[in-house]
Amino acid sequence: MYILGITDLGINLPVLLGQILSFTFLLIVLRLLVYKPVLKMLDERRERIRSGLAAAEQGLEREAEARTEAQAQLDTARREGQAIVQQAQQVATRIQEEARVQAQQQQEVMLERARSEIQLERDGAIASLRNEFADLTIAAAEKVIGQSLDRTAHQRLIERALAESSFREN
């Protein structure tokens, strides 16, 4: 049997100091090596995630906004396009109509001109034919009668004959 005294519990100052120093050393090293950098990293990450989430939220909002705006613009553009096409069609129809009318008019003018030219030609031809015929008739008559007739008297006679004949203008 041996009675335990307080020294048997191992109370010893240098060892106690050694343990305190060892623990304090560990505390300081871990603080510098682990806690400061790791907590800093955790804070940074937390901040980054927070701002990232906020940015994502904002981005989504902005995207939705942009989409509605784009849709609105698209609608306006479509409407405007339709209006322009319609207008263009109207203009085209009008231009076509005008061209048709103008062409018709021109055609008519040209027809008229051609008709009057033909008339003039015909009148000219008739007049020259008549002169020719008068000269021929006179020549023929001279031949037949064998005598020269007074030119003006003859002319009068021929005129009369012609007026009596069915060969007249128009």
Partner: protein, 352 residues
């Protein structure tokens, strides 16, 4: 199939027990409470002042060194996107941090965190490391001396040379020194007891002595928990004074407003010392009991048995729980110390 497994497991358990009883029988463990001195540094002739490097102190340094190396390796790859070992390490740190902040609040939590985390990590790591087989087994063989402050009641018969392990089948010898007086007067008597035992049990090439293991669980020596408790209580006082100011914090202990307040202050003062003692003996008692339990169990069943695994599992659990309790109590006491006392701001103090 299931039945076969159950029968096999039972047969294994029975076989290990039988093997331990009949074949591999270890000697009775010699339980020593104080740390065994390995290296003598300074001898002042007083047990409280002599500086010997004990096995617990050496283990504490080794554990500290290992922990620093691990932390150094873990924090080399600190990154915004954590990966590998750092990820695991950071998860532990963040877990402790969230726990501390959850109890003490953001502002105080940040101040308390380093101490609480270090206590938790260091004590857990040391306790778990002390469950590895190198602890308490390999050591220094020390022959018995009559002049020691603690005379061992039990000794083992060692081979005079070779590796200092406790061999299977080593003879344990009980020494009848109870009749001898304490101190120097009994030295003659104890010499006589040793000589008698040596003559009776020891053959040629053998000696009577005890094993001082090189590595021993740090918290099984009273000095280690006491050092943690001292640091912890000192930090708590420092936080109290630095937050409230010396006079407001001191008013908690020394108060002349009324006799009742004075008496309450006196009780508070005693409570501070009680904290120191409760911190120390809670950890010390649990860890020493755990060590003795494992030594006793491995003495009863010396081969690898499921029964031993259960006890090792239990000690794994106790080691972490005690560290957690130590850290949490430090945190709670620190939160109480920085909370304002007295009637002028009772509302603020009421949440804690």
């Amino acid at each position: 199939m299931k039945r076969l497994i159950i029968v096999g497991a039972l047969a294994y358990v029975v076989a290990t027990i039988a093997l331990s009883i009949f074949i591999v029988k270890p000697p009775k463990p010699i339980i020593v409470i104080k740390g065994e001195p390995l290296i003598e540094v300074a001898d002042f002739g007083n047990a409280m002042l002599d500086f010997n490097i004990t096995n617990t102190l050496m283990t504490a340094w080794i554990v500290t060194g290992l922990l620093i190396v691990i932390c150094f390796i873990a924090t080399r790859r600190i990154a915004m996107v954590p990966s590998g070992f750092y990820n695991f390490f950071e998860a532990i740190i963040e877990g402790i941090y969230n726990f501390v902040v959850g109890i003490a609040g953001e502002q105080n939590g940040r101040r308390f965190f380093p101490l609480v985390a270090t206590l938790f990590i260091y004590i857990t790591f040391a306790n778990w490391l002390s469950l590895t087989p190198v602890f308490n087994t390999i050591g220094m063989y020390v022959p018995l001396h009559a002049e020691e402050e603690v005379f061992h009641d039990d000794a083992l018969v060692f081979k005079d040379s070779g590796l200092s392990l406790i061999p299977f089948g080593a003879e344990d010898v009980e020494l009848e020194a109870g009749e001898c007086a304490a101190g120097a007067e009994g030295d003659e008597c104890r010499h006589h007891v040793i000589d008698e035992a040596t003559a009776g049990h020891v053959d040629d090439g053998e000696k009577l002595g005890v094993l001082f293991p090189y590595l021993r669980g740090i918290n099984t020596d009273l000095m280690t928990p006491l050092s943690f408790a001292l640091v912890s209580v000192l930090f708590i006082q420092y936080w109290g004074v630095s937050t409230l100011g010396l006079f407001r914090y001191g008013a908690k202990f020394v108060n002349f407003r009324s006799p009742i307040d004075f008496f309450v202050g006196f009780l508070e003062l005693i409570a501070e010392f009680a904290k120191l003692i409760s911190f120390t003996f809670r950890l010390f008692g649990n860890m020493l009991a755990g060590e003795i339990l494992l030594l006793a169990m491995t003495f009863l069943i010396a081969v690898c048995s499921p029964i031993l695994v259960v006890f090792y599992g239990l000690e794994l659990f106790v080691g972490a729980i005690q560290a957690f309790v130590f850290g949490t109590l430090t945190l709670v006491f620190a939160s109480m110390a920085v909370a304002a006392h007295g009637p002028e701001d009772h509302g603020e103090g009421a949440h804690h």
